[in-house]
């Protein structure tokens, strides 16, 4: 039986590494849970509690390992921990991305399994050293010192280096490789004492190779799992005081999500924005000023600025982070043609309601490109008083256009917007267009005079609109006919309820 300082050193280094890995998996599980599920205090507490409990279980189970198999079991456990821990983040991401239901189940099962295995490590190491007749006092002190030192190292490095530099996925894989490394190293050092080493070396190499391969391919994997979560690779993600903004890219397709709802896809946004802008502006050749409410992506502005008769456009969007992002990011500026920095444009970051109340300006056209009325706050800007307020800012002969969710998927909500505009004394011309990433989408053109005619041609070149399709836009086929609904009054905000119920009914 081999004794002596060199073996001790091996074991002590193992303890350090093993302890670091143990804590790393715990932190990864906790961080991922709070990142994906929210409520970090709850997630961290339950993950840590569960993990510690499982470690206790592991320590207990370690007594059933017969004395002559201790070393061999230790190596096997290291391999298992490496494999399981290394793959833990990937596993959790994948489960969450593709089926969020069993996520909690998988999370706690994983934490339990890892905890049990990690809990067995230190007792086994102690027994190995004990077999080498280390003095007990010395042994406990040394093992525990390095156990805690390893934990400290990771506790510091994880938030400062690993998580920000490598991300969860690669951090987990890295620690998995360390575990496998310990297994291989221990095998090599104690080869004399082990009955068989070949199989251990083989298995160790396989685990190491697997994890290293995954590490190399992790970029792909991240893209693949985030695709499950957000659709695609995220280019920008930010929680502002007003909303959560996520911009994703998949090949040449840029997408913007606000609070998880798709706002545009660069593949077909031209359909949405041409439909939003041109029927109104084509019919207002004399128009000189336009007001855009919302539309902080600058895409509606891009279309507006194509008209040389438009001398000035004012865009009011609540979120400076949104207009800032779309004015600065090269990819997004390429998409909106730098419209937000155009000298003909004034960008105001203000609550549209407040701005409308305080401003005296009158515009020839008003484009309302706000997120769907999914809550009471947004619903207020789709109400009779809000449209009355907008009417005060609209030239006598001008038009107002409202993006108004899908007349196909959310018919009650859509026709409620129409009804609301009517109650605010507007004449309305509802229309719709097919935008592949949204489905059939709805708009309402409104004016104080009953004089609008859908354009028979367009002065500017269009990718999507032409005379024939425009005529069809203003016709509603039998499956999209008007339904009897209430106007959206502030007292009950029926629109918010219609919107909720309609979208719940159709599969989103």
């Amino acid at each position: 039986m081999s004794t002596g300082p060199s073996y001790d050193r091996v074991l002590v280094v193992s303890v350090f590494v093993v302890a670091s890995c143990g804590l790393a998996y715990e932190l990864i599980a906790g961080a991922l849970a709070s990142y994906l599920l929210g409520d970090s205090v709850l997630q961290f507490s339950t993950v840590i509690g569960c993990y510690l409990f499982a470690m206790g279980l592991g320590s207990h189970l370690s007594r059933y390992v017969p004395e002559h198999l201790v070393l061999s079991r230790f190596i096997e456990i290291e391999l298992l921990v490496g494999l399981l821990g290394g793959a833990s983040a990937a596993l959790l991401f994948a489960v969450f991305g593709w089926a969020s239901q069993p996520f909690r189940g998988v999370l706690y099962a994983l934490v339990l399994a890892l905890g049990v295995l990690v809990g067995m490590e230190i007792p086994l190491v102690m027994r190995i050293m004990n077999q080498r007749r280390a003095e007990f006092r010395e042994l406990v002190a040394r093992v525990l010192t390095f156990d805690y030192l390893g934990a400290l190292a990771v506790a510091l490095l994880f938030p400062l280096v690993f998580a920000p530099r490598l991300g969860m996925l690669r951090t987990a894989l890295l620690f998995g490789m360390l575990n496998a490394g310990v297994a291989l190293w221990t095998t090599w050092h104690f080869r004399a004492e082990l009955a068989t080493t070949a199989d251990k070396v083989l298995r160790g190499t396989m685990v190491l190779g697997l994890l290293a391969g995954a590490f190399a391919l992790s970029d792909r994997f991240t893209a693949w799992t985030e695709k499950g979560i957000f659709g695609d690779e995220t280019l920008h993600a930010e929680t502002t005081p007003y909303q959560r903004l996520v911009v994703t890219r998949w090949h040449d397709d840029l997408r913007l999500y606000i609070n998880g709802n798709l706002q545009f896809s660069s593949r077909d946004e031209h359909r949405y924005h041409e439909a939003l802008i041109h029927p109104a502006l084509q019919a207002l050749p004399w128009a000189r000023t336009v007001l855009v409410l919302g539309g902080g992506d600058g895409l509606a502005l891009r279309e507006i600025l194509r008209y040389s008769n438009i001398e000035h456009a004012t865009l009011v969007d609540i979120d400076p982070a949104m207009t800032g992002l779309f004015a600065r990011s090269a990819e997004l500026v390429a998409l909106n043609g730098g419209s937000l920095s155009n000298p003909r444009v004034t960008v105001v970051n203000a609550d549209a309601g407040r701005w409308l109340e305080n401003s005296q300006q009158v515009f020839d056209a008003i484009i309302v490109d706000l997120p769907d009325p999914s809550n009471y706050g947004l619903g207020k800007l789709y109400s009779v008083p809000a449209y009355r307020l907008m009417a005060r800012h609209l030239a006598e002969k001008g038009y107002l256009v409202v993006q108004s969710t899908s007349p196909y998927y959310a018919p009650h909500a859509y026709w409620s917007v129409v009804q609301t505009l009517r109650e605010a004394d507007f004449h309305t011309w509802p229309y719709h267009a097919y935008v592949p990433s949204f489905g059939e989408w709805g708009f309402v053109l409104a004016g104080r005079r009953a004089d609008f005619e859908p354009p028979k041609s367009y002065r500017l070149s269009m990718k999507f609109l032409d005379a024939a399709s425009t005529a069809l836009m203003f016709q509603f086929p039998p499956d999209m006919q008007a339904v009897p609904v209430q106007a959206n009054r502030l007292n009950d905000q029926s629109l918010v309820r219609y919107f909720d119920q309609d979208w719940q009914r159709s599969i989103r």
């Binding site: 970090s40 549209a352 407040r354 008083p385 502030l490």
Partner: protein, 539 residues
């Protein structure tokens, strides 16, 4: 991951632990708390028979209105609208009375009344006022007129915190088929019947104003027992429903169901029959500063350029001398003046009137028998920067009530703003009707409390709705209004009180106009008596 956010959550959780009760005190140590004792000094001086000062000057007028609350202001408004200018509106110690308001910078808030149910057809006086203001926009005589939606309460109107979770609506949700659900449905149905009910005299059983209700003896029988006794008799026993009804009585009358007349309890539900073309039945009108804008409008018209005259000060003594009433008034700055008026409208609370008018008995009013009992209230306004983190469930509503709470919940002053996002600042107004002890005992106790102790009293509900850290990191200032005699309690028998009936009829040199005449503390009643007094003066 937003680390700042998780740290905040962590701290919040820590402070929610019972380990750290001192946390809250620490957090609010430097908070400015101001306390207003509405009209108390003047009232106590009158009660204690302080010596009367000599007047420095004498004014002559046709009509002198004593008190600028809802009743006095309604009287002034109606007089001016009918072309009268020869009158004075004496503000009283608190301009606006129970419909007063305050402000933190740009943010206005109520110091009393905060909402007005949609007026029914009988409340023609209220409709006339709302139309005059432009709030009622069309159909003033229709069953369902059009209102300015800015003032109709916006969704979500109300929510209830029950089992640490917010639900929509104030009536506790109950599983279908449960006793609770059955009792609730039966109760609402019964109120619906009372709403439609007519007496043998052809009047509605429960009209607002009360003076237009049927005097049918059967219906008046409901005034002989307490609301709680009536509920027992009718076997409405479900605890959720009973809590809600208690809450409703405390909210409108300052006393629980056991302490108010069954007629009044039923009237709370059956009287509110107003509808709107552009709002749901049961909707109410409200403004950031409660009902104060109604008062401001009445003042603009009543004592504006084309109306009467506004005077600060309060009445000390009013006596009839020859063909005039002579009213000695304190000017609020240590001085006094005398007003000689052909007629006087006494629009102050009855308990003050008994001190100012030497001989109420001659009018048929015996103070010992006829003075109502007054419920003490606290109204606390919290200026908040940002909004505190919420418990799960329904989002912040206009009116937020806590099941089983000692107070009556809190309203959000910025709720009616037309905004997508929440404003940077807001005011929460918490209402507490102190009905756990006899009113006089409560008043004595209140007098012994300092600002911090009063703050403890008014925190009763907010403390249950928010963790201390969540709340105190947003609160920037607190104003507490103490109303020792906030509102008259409609005890059983209140409808037939002889003294108050006598004062309603007074139509000589001296007239009366105040909510106390109905003994129901609601805007419509107070406005009704002011409006009636004006009609008498105009006749």
């Amino acid at each position: 991951m937003n680390t700042d956010w998780s740290r905040r959550r962590f701290l919040r959780t820590l402070c929610a632990l019972p380990l750290l009760p001192g946390c809250e005190r620490l957090a609010r140590r430097d908070l400015p708390v101001s306390v207003l004792w509405a009209g108390m000094e003047a009232g106590h001086a009158l009660r204690d028979g302080a010596p009367l000062p000599l007047p420095r000057e004498t004014l002559e007028t046709g009509v002198l209105i004593l008190g600028s609350g809802v009743a006095g202001s309604a009287c002034a408004w109606k007089l001016a609208r009918e072309g009268r200018r020869d009158f004075i509106l004496l503000a009283g110690p608190e301009a606006g009375g129970n419909a007063a308001a305050g402000e933190f910078g740009e943010l206005r808030f109520p110091r009393g009344a905060h909402y007005l149910p949609l007026p029914s057809l009988e409340s023609a006086h209220v409709r006339e006022l709302l139309a005059d203001m432009g709030v009622l926009q069309a159909g003033v005589g229709d069953l369902r007129p059009w209102y300015d939606e800015a003032c109709v309460v916006h969704a979500p109107a109300e929510r209830l915190l029950i089992d640490r979770r917010w639900q929509e609506d104030l009536l506790p949700h109950a599983p279908a088929g449960s006793d609770e659900a059955r009792d609730q449905a039966r109760f609402l149905q019964s109120m619906e019947q009372f709403k439609q009910a007519q007496g043998s005299d052809g009047r509605r059983a429960f009209a607002v104003p009360l003076a237009l209700s049927s005097t049918d003896a059967d219906l008046r029988g409901l005034d002989q027992l307490s609301f709680a006794a009536w509920l027992d008799r009718e076997n409405f026993r479900a605890p959720g429903l009973r809590w809600y009804l208690d809450y409703a009585c405390r909210d409108d009358y300052g006393a629980p169901a056991a302490g108010v007349s069954a007629w009044a309890g039923i009237a709370y539900f059956a009287g509110r029959a107003g509808q709107a073309a552009d709002a749901q039945p049961g909707a109410v009108l409200t403004w950031p500063d409660g009902l104060n804008p109604l008062l401001r409008h009445m003042h603009e018209v009543g004592v504006g350029a084309a109306g009467g005259r506004w005077l600060a000060g309060h009445a000390l003594r009013a006596v009839e001398r020859g063909n005039r009433m002579e009213v000695l008034c304190a000017d609020g700055q240590g001085g006094a003046f005398l007003v000689r008026a052909r007629r006087v409208v006494c629009a102050m609370p009855l308990m003050v009137a008994t001190r100012v008018l030497p001989d109420m008995a001659a009018l048929g009013f015996d103070p010992a028998r006829d003075l109502p009992q007054y419920a003490p209230w606290l109204v606390a306004n919290f200026l908040l920067e940002g909004f505190p983190a919420e418990m799960p469930g329904a989002e912040l509503a206009w009116d937020n009530v806590i099941y089983g709470g000692q107070g009556l919940g809190y309203v959000v002053s910025t709720h009616q703003q037309l905004r997508v996002a929440r404003p940077p600042q807001t005011v929460f107004t918490a209402y507490v009707a102190l009905s756990d002890q006899a009113p006089a005992a409560v008043r004595r106790r209140l007098l012994s409390l300092d600002a911090q102790q009063l703050l403890d009293e008014v925190l009763c509900d907010l403390r249950l709705a928010y963790t201390p850290i969540a709340l105190w990191r947003h609160v920037r200032a607190v104003e507490i209004t103490v109303r020792g005699h906030a509102m008259p309690i409609p005890l059983p028998g209140f409808l037939s009180n002889p003294g108050r009936l006598a004062l309603r009829g007074a139509d000589d040199r001296l007239l009366f106009a105040h909510g106390d005449l109905s003994c129901l503390s609601v805007f419509e009643e107070a406005a009704w008596w002011g409006y009636r007094a004006a009609l008498k003066l105009l006749a």
